[in-house]
Amino acid sequence: MGARSLKPHYDAVIIGCGMAGLAAGIRMAMYDRSVLIVESHNAPGGLNSFYALEGRKFDVGLHAVTNYVPPGAKGTPLVKLLRQLRLRREDLDLCPQRGSRIAFPGIDLAFDNGFARLGESVAEAFPAEIDGFRALRAHVAAFDPFDDTAPVVSAREVMGRYLRSPVLTDMLLCPILYYGSARENDIDFDQFVILWRSLFEEGFARPHEGVRVVIRALLKRFREAGGERKMKCGVRRLHTDGARVTAVELEDGLTVTADAVLSTAGARETEALWSATDQPAAPEPGRRLSFVETITVLDAQPADLGAEETIIFFNDSERFHYERPAAAVDPRSGVICFPNNYDYGERRLDEGFFRVTALADYDRWAALSPEAYRAEKDAWYPRLQESALRFVPGLDMDTVRAHTRYIDMFTPCTVKRFTRHIEGAVYGAPRKHRDGTTRFDNLFLAGTDQGFLGITGAMLSGISMANRHVLSRR
C-alpha cells in the first residue's frame, strides 16, 4: 500500500476505511470504478477496529454483529449485505448468542435471537401492556425506515401512543439507544425501527475471532475487485470551486482528483475539510455522546464462573438516563458483554472476557494530563465493574478479581483516536443526513452520519450510497 504510487485521478475517493467505506469501495470496484480509500489510522475498521496488547487481541467497538438471521432467512439486511458484496455467510463466521437480558430494578426482560423470548418476557413482566406492545411491534413491522422524505419523529413520542408504562418504554429503549442513538434520551423513529429489527426481531452473533474476521473478508473482496487504499494518511483538505470538490489533498502532500468523493468521516468532520473559516458551525440539536469501556481478561470461561448470558443492558435508577453525564462516567446504566457466550460450536475463546460499557463525558477525559488520565481510569475501572456486577447474579467482584489476568479500558479519547469523530461521538452527530447529499454536487456522506447504524447498518450505508450516488450515475 505504502510504496505503490497513486493515480492522479480516480472515479471515486472514499474517506475512511471503516465498515461503510470498505463496503462502498467494494461496490464501486466490483463495477470497474477506480477507487481509492484513504484512512488516517493505521488499522482498518474505524469504530469497529481491533488492536493487540501484550499478544492479546481485542476488539474496539464490537460486542455483537447485529441483524443475525439463521441460514435460509429472506430479505433481511444481513442477506442483502451478503448479496451486494458477494460474500458467503461462511465468510463472516457468525455464531449466534446464547441469550441476553435487559435488567432494571426488580424487573428483567430476557431475550434471544428471534422475537419469541422477548414477547414472552414482556407478557410476563408487563401483562397490562401486552396489547400495546404487540401493536407497537406491528407498527414497527409496517414502517418503512428507508423513506428519506418522511419527517423525522421522536421514538419516545411514537412509543407513547402504544405503551403506558414509562418503565417498559425505558427498558425497550435501553438496548436500542446504547446500540445506536446519537441523541440524548431518545432516537429518531426511523432509526428506532432499524435497530428494533436488528436487535429484537433478528439478533446478535459474533465471529469466533471477533471483528477482524469481518474486516478481513471486506479487505479481501476490495483487493480482489481492484480497489486501492492508502492507510495512515488522512485528508488534509478538500478543494472546491463552490459547486464541486475539485481535488483531494492528502496529509502527505499528494493531491488527487476524483469524479466523486464519499466521506465516512462524519458530516461536520467532512465540513472541516473544505470550510475556509474557523468559525464554529451552527449549534447541534443536543450534545454528542461517547462511552468508556472496561475490558477484563479472565483465566476462566465466564460461564464456569456463573455468567452464562451474552449481553446484559442494565440500569439501576427509576428512569433510564441516556445522556452526557455530569461526571467523567455515568455508572448507573451500561452494557455488559461476555464475548465467550456465543455458540461457537466446538470452538471456544482461550481466555474469558468481561466487558462493560457506560456513558462518558468527552470533555472531562480530554482535559486530563497523561498522569491524571491514567489515575481517572484506575478510579473508574472498579466503580464501573462493581456497578455492572450487581446485575450479574452468580458473578461477584471477588471472583472476578481472583480470576483477572489483564485489564484495559478505553475512553472517549480512544474512540476519537480510532474514528476521528468530534468529541469521540460513537454514533456521530445528533442530526443525520439520510440522503447522503451535501452542498457539493459530487461530495456524499456515508456511515455514521448518514444514519444506518450498527455494523450491518454501516456496511449497508456504504452500499446504498455507492449505488445511489456513484453506480446509478453515468
Binding site: K80, R86, I463, L471
Partner: protein, 87 residues
C-alpha cells in the same frame, strides 16, 4: 442469440448475485419479483452485470422490461444481437 439463450444469460446473472435463491422451475411469464426474493438493489445488479459482462446498457426507464424471464428475453435479445453485430 436466441431468446432461450438470452434467458440462460439472465439466469446465470441472478445465480451469481443471489446464490441463496433456488432457480429451479421458474415460470417464464411470471414476474421474477413474485417468484424470487429480489429487491431494487438486486435489479440494479442485474443491470450492472449486463453492462459489465455483456456491454449492454439498460436505461432506468426500461427497468420494468426486466420484470419476467419472457420480458427480459423480448427486450434483451435484440440488444445482445446488436452488440454482437457491432463487435
Amino acid at each position: 442469440m436466441t431468446k432461450e439463450e438470452c434467458k440462460q444469460v439472465v439466469l446465470e446473472i441472478i445465480e451469481e448475485i443471489a446464490p441463496d435463491e433456488d432457480l429451479e422451475g421458474l415460470s417464464h411469464d411470471v414476474r421474477l419479483r413474485d417468484q424470487l426474493d429480489l429487491d431494487s438493489m438486486d435489479f440494479l445488479d442485474i443491470v450492472m452485470e449486463l453492462r459489465k459482462k455483456h456491454g449492454i446498457e439498460v436505461p432506468e426507464e426500461d427497468y420494468p422490461k426486466l420484470a419476467s424471464l419472457d420480458s427480459c428475453a423480448e427486450y434483451l435479445t435484440p440488444k445482445f444481437n446488436a452488440v454482437k453485430a457491432g463487435a
